[in-house]
């Protein structure tokens, strides 16, 4: 008699599992999490980018849409680069060498760092791969975009330009 109830509970929990970590939402301030460099042992934190409009992109070498997003990010970087705007590609590969291989095939003109210790990923509570967070100058998250599709890139560009213009 207990078996059906147990099964039902288990199914329900499986299907409606809720992320218990504190999910970072629109309107929150970005966490100050530690990041590593891809090539050497240097560490850095997100705080150092304070004051700029940020486009934080969580990506990995095994993620197909991430490969598709790189040309867009490169174009965005070339168009808006300067002191005010920064694209940060946070790589979540367990093996940073996979990321290096990926970058050899799909070069990035924007800065790429590694989060191999999963610090930022957990603090941001990344919901999907890839995830983009648009952050304004005050460190407040203004837009979260899950996934990447070429048709939607235009929207993101408009949002970024708005933030850079100071809104």
């Amino acid at each position: 008699m207990n078996k059906p109830i147990l099964t039902l509970l288990c199914i329900t929990s499986a299907i409606f599992f809720i992320q218990t970590a504190h999910a970072v939402e629109q309107g929150n301030i970005i966490p100050d999490c530690k990041l590593n460099s891809l090539s050497d042992a240097k560490t850095t934190t997100l705080k150092q980018f304070q004051g700029k409009v940020l486009y934080i992109d969580f990506w990995a070498s095994w993620c197909g849409p991430c490969a598709k997003s790189f040309p867009f990010l490169n174009t965005l970087h070339d168009a808006l680069k300067g002191d005010d705007f920064q694209i940060i590609g946070i790589n979540l590969d367990e093996n940073p060498s996979d990321a290096q291989d990926f970058l050899a095939k799909y070069p990035a003109s924007f800065s790429v760092v590694s989060d191999v210790q999963e610090q930022c990923a957990k603090q941001f509570a990344v919901q999907a791969m890839p995830s983009s967070y648009l952050v304004d100058r005050n460190g407040i998250i203004r837009h979260i975009h899950l996934g990447f599709r070429a048709d939607e890139a235009g929207e993101l560009k408009v949002l970024v330009e708005k933030l850079v213009a100071g809104h």
Binding site: C10, I11, A60, A121, V126
Partner: protein
């Protein structure tokens, strides 16, 4: 007899599949699952051909194929 077997199978399948509801995996930890060898159908061209042939020589119809797993990208 087959009825009992069926029910047991379904029960096992369902309970087995909900075990993980209790051990979560984060979206960025799917690197291994994203490998082509881990796809539900790693050799789709072969599978379609052999299902087609087996279906013409055997009475059982092939099961329908599902999707899922993989990188879980949006």
């Amino acid at each position: 007899m087959p009825r009992k077997l069926m029910l047991t199978l379904i029960a096992t399948a369902v309970s087995a599949s909900c075990l993980p509801g209790c051990t979560p995996l984060s979206p960025w930890q799917r690197g291994t699952l994203a490998k082509p060898s881990m796809a539900l159908e790693p050799t789709p061209m072969q599978d379609i051909l052999s299902e087609h042939t087996h279906g013409s020589r055997e009475a059982a119809s092939a099961g329908s194929s599902s999707s899922g797993g993989g990188c879980g990208c949006y």
